[in-house]
C-alpha cells in the first residue's frame, strides 16, 4: 500500500511479540503525559525532596561539611530507619498527588469517544489493556517512591562505610514492598475512578474523596462505638502502620501506635481489599459493549 500507488495491499511483515503489546499503551500514554508542562513540573517537584534528603545524608556523613556549616554531629538526625521512614512517607504522599493528576485521564480518554472496542477487537485482552495502563502509573510512581529511596539508601551505604549497608540491607525489603502495595492500591483505585468518571476534575475529586471520606467515617465510628477499628478506613494510616512494622519500629515519625493498634495483617487486608474492589469496578466498566438489562 505504498502512498504513490494508492492501492490496498495486505501486510505480510513481521509482528511484535504478543506479550509486549501492552507496553504500546504505556509508551503512548507517557508520550501524551510529557506534552503537559504541568505534569513535567509536578514530576520535577516530586523529586526535589529527594535532593534535600540526599544533601542531608551527605552532610550527616561529612565532618568537613559539618564544620563548615558549624553543625555538630550530635545535633543531627541520625540516618537510620526513622530517617528512611520519613523519606518513604514524604515520597508516597507526593506519589499520591502525582497519581491524582495522571490517573484520571488514562482510561477516561479512551472511554469518552468509545475507543475501547477498537482495542478489544484486536488480539488484545482487557487484562492487557489494564496492564498497559497500570504500567504507566507503576513506572511513574516507582520513580518517585522506592527508586529514589533505594538510591538514597545506596548513597548512605556508600558514605557511611563500616559495613552500614550490609547491616541495614534488610531495609530494602520494606522499602520495595511497602512502596509496591501503595503504588498498586493508588494505581488501581485511580484507574477504577478513571473508568467510572470521565471528567478529569471530577475524577481527581473522587480520588481525594475516596481517601478522606472513609477516614472521617472511620473516626465517627470510633467516637460513637468507642473502638479503634474505624481506623481501618484510613488508608494512609494503614499504609503507615505497614511501613512502621516493615521497618521494625514501634512508632512512626508522625505519631505513636499505641496498645490499641490494628494488627498489621488487617492493614494489609484493607489495602488488598481496595485493590480487589478496584479490579471489580474495572471488570464491570471495561467492556467493549454494554449489555442492556430488561
Amino acid at each position: 500500500m505504498a502512498v504513490y500507488k494508492r492501492r490496498y495491499n495486505s501486510y505480510t511483515g513481521a509482528l511484535s511479540p504478543e506479550w509486549s503489546r501492552f507496553f504500546v499503551l504505556t509508551r503512548y500514554a507517557f508520550a501524551e503525559l510529557f506534552k503537559s508542562r504541568f505534569f513535567v513540573i509536578l514530576l520535577i517537584l516530586s523529586l526535589v525532596p529527594s535532593l534535600f534528603f540526599a544533601g542531608y545524608i551527605f552532610i550527616a556523613n561529612n565532618k568537613t561539611a559539618q564544620l563548615l556549616m558549624q553543625l555538630r554531629s550530635a545535633g543531627l538526625f541520625a540516618v537510620e530507619t526513622q530517617y528512611f521512614m520519613v523519606i518513604m512517607i514524604v515520597q508516597t504522599q507526593l506519589a499520591f498527588l502525582l497519581n491524582c493528576w495522571v490517573g484520571p485521564v488514562l482510561i477516561a480518554g479512551d472511554l469518552t469517544n468509545g475507543a475501547l472496542p477498537l482495542f478489544l477487537s484486536r488480539p488484545f485482552s482487557r487484562a492487557d489493556y489494564v496492564l498497559g495502563k497500570l504500567a504507566v502509573l507503576g513506572l511513574l510512581l516507582s520513580a518517585v517512591t522506592w527508586v529514589p529511596c533505594l538510591l538514597l539508601f545506596s548513597l548512605q551505604g556508600g558514605l557511611a562505610r563500616n559495613g552500614w549497608i550490609w547491616s541495614h540491607f534488610w531495609m530494602v525489603i520494606p522499602i520495595v514492598f511497602c512502596s509496591a502495595i501503595w503504588i498498586l492500591m493508588l494505581s488501581l483505585l485511580s484507574l477504577a475512578v478513571s473508568a467510572w468518571v470521565k471528567l478529569r476534575i471530577v475524577a481527581t475529586g473522587v480520588i481525594f474523596i475516596s481517601f478522606f471520606v472513609p477516614t472521617g467515617i472511620g473516626e465517627m465510628f470510633n467516637a460513637i462505638m468507642g473502638t479503634y477499628w474505624g481506623r481501618l478506613l484510613n488508608f494512609s494510616d494503614m499504609f503507615r502502620l505497614i511501613l512502621v512494622k516493615g521497618f521494625r519500629e514501634r512508632s512512626g515519625p508522625l505519631g505513636q501506635f499505641g496498645s490499641n493498634e490494628i494488627p498489621v495483617a488487617a492493614a494489609w487486608g484493607v489495602l488488598i481489599l481496595v485493590c480487589v474492589l478496584s479490579l471489580v469496578i474495572l471488570n464491570a466498566r471495561l467492556r467493549a459493549r454494554e449489555a442492556v438489562r430488561g
Partner: protein
C-alpha cells in the same frame, strides 16, 4: 479445502437476561457478506459475538474456521473492525491514532507509521492526517475509522454501518474503496448496513436477520444470474411456430392469453436471438420485461415471511 467464511451453528446469545440471537444456523461461503435486518434484528450483536465481545449462551460461530469463543484471540488477529458508533481518541492526530491502533495489532512502530500514512492517503484524508481526530467532520471520522481498520492489513474486514453520516460523494468513494479492497486482495468482508444499495454494490451474499433469527441467506451472484434468464413478453402475431422456435433454442416457454409469453432462457442464449426469431416469423414484440429481483425485493420478501427461513431462498 477452504473454510467457509462464517459458520453459524445453533448460535444463541443472551444479554441482560434476554435472548437476542435465537439459534442461528447457516453457512456463508462468499468472500463478501452483507448483513441486513431492521433495527433490533441482532446485526450488531452478531458482529459483537464474532469479535468475542459477547459469549454465546448456546451453539457457536466460526469465522474462517476459528471459533469466536475458543479461538477469540487468533480470530481477532485476522480482523479489522470499523464500529458503528464513534470510536476514536479525540486529542490524537489522525495518523498517530491509526499508527497506535496498528501497533496494538502487532505492527512494529516504523511499519505502523508507514502504513498509517498510507492508509490515510488511501482513504483520501492525506491532507487532514495531522489534525486531531476530534476536529474531524462526521464523514472524516468514518474514514479515519476505516483507515484504522485496514492499516494493519487484516484478512477479515468487519464494517458496521460504514457509510453512516456520509454525504453522497463520500459514500460513493467509500463504497468504491471497499470494492477495490475486495477485488485487489483475498480479504473477506462482512458489511452490516441499513442501506441496501451499499450491500448490493459490495457483497456477494446476504444474511438477513429478523427478531434475532435468520430470515434469509441469499447468494446475490446466483440470484443475479438466475434473474438474467427470465423474460416476460407481450406479443402480437405469435403462434405455435414462435414458441416452438424458442424451444428449439433451448428455452422453456409458457403461453398465456393476449399474447403473453414467459420465457426461461438457458445461459448460452442471448436476448438478440429472441428478437431474431420474432423478426423471422413476423411476430411483434410490444413489450419485454427482463425481470430481475433487486435486493430490496429479496429483503422485503424475507421480512414478509411469517416463519423463519432455515435455508436459502
Amino acid at each position: 479445502m477452504m473454510n467457509p467464511t462464517i459458520e453459524l451453528d445453533r448460535l444463541e446469545v443472551q444479554l441482560g437476561g434476554r435472548t437476542i440471537l435465537h439459534g442461528l444456523t447457516g453457512v456463508l461461503k462468499s468472500r463478501a457478506i452483507g448483513l441486513l435486518g431492521p433495527n433490533g434484528a441482532g446485526k450488531s450483536t452478531l458482529i459483537n459475538t464474532l469479535l468475542g465481545f459477547h459469549s454465546p449462551s448456546k451453539g457457536s460461530v466460526r469465522v474462517l474456521g476459528l471459533d469466536s469463543h475458543a479461538n477469540g484471540k487468533a480470530l481477532r488477529s485476522l480482523v479489522g473492525y470499523m464500529p458503528e458508533n464513534d470510536a476514536f481518541i479525540s486529542k490524537m492526530s489522525g495518523v498517530r491514532f491509526v499508527r497506535y491502533m496498528a501497533e496494538i495489532s502487532g505492527l512494529p512502530p516504523n511499519q505502523a507509521m508507514e502504513r498509517a500514512h498510507e492508509a490515510f492517503v488511501y482513504v483520501g484524508l492525506g491532507e487532514a492526517r495531522y489534525r486531531p481526530v476530534g476536529t474531524y467532520s462526521l464523514g472524516m471520522k468514518q474514514l479515519a475509522k476505516f483507515a484504522q481498520a485496514i492499516a494493519h492489513g487484516p484478512q477479515v474486514l468487519i464494517l458496521d454501518e460504514p457509510t453512516n453520516g456520509m454525504d453522497p460523494p463520500a459514500r460513493k468513494r467509500l463504497i468504491e474503496l471497499i470494492r477495490e479492497i475486495r477485488e485487489a486482495s483475498d480479504i473477506c468482508l462482512l458489511l452490516s448496513s441499513h442501506l441496501l444499495r451499499d450491500v448490493e454494490e459490495t457483497c456477494d451474499e446476504v444474511l438477513i436477520l429478523r427478531n434475532g433469527q435468520i430470515a434469509s441467506i441469499c447468494n446475490l451472484v446466483d440470484e443475479r444470474r438466475a434473474n438474467r434468464k427470465f423474460l416476460e413478453l407481450e406479443t402480437i402475431g405469435a403462434e405455435q411456430t414462435f414458441t416452438s422456435a424458442l424451444e428449439g433454442l433451448g428455452c422453456e416457454c409458457a403461453v398465456f392469453s393476449n399474447g403473453r409469453i414467459k420465457v426461461v432462457m438457458p445461459d448460452r442464449v442471448e436476448i438478440k436471438e429472441v428478437f431474431k426469431v420474432a423478426a423471422d416469423r413476423g411476430v411483434q414484440i410490444r413489450r419485454m420485461n427482463h425481470r430481475r429481483d433487486s435486493l430490496e425485493d429479496i429483503f422485503l420478501n424475507a421480512m414478509e415471511q411469517t416463519g423463519v427461513a432455515d435455508g436459502r431462498i
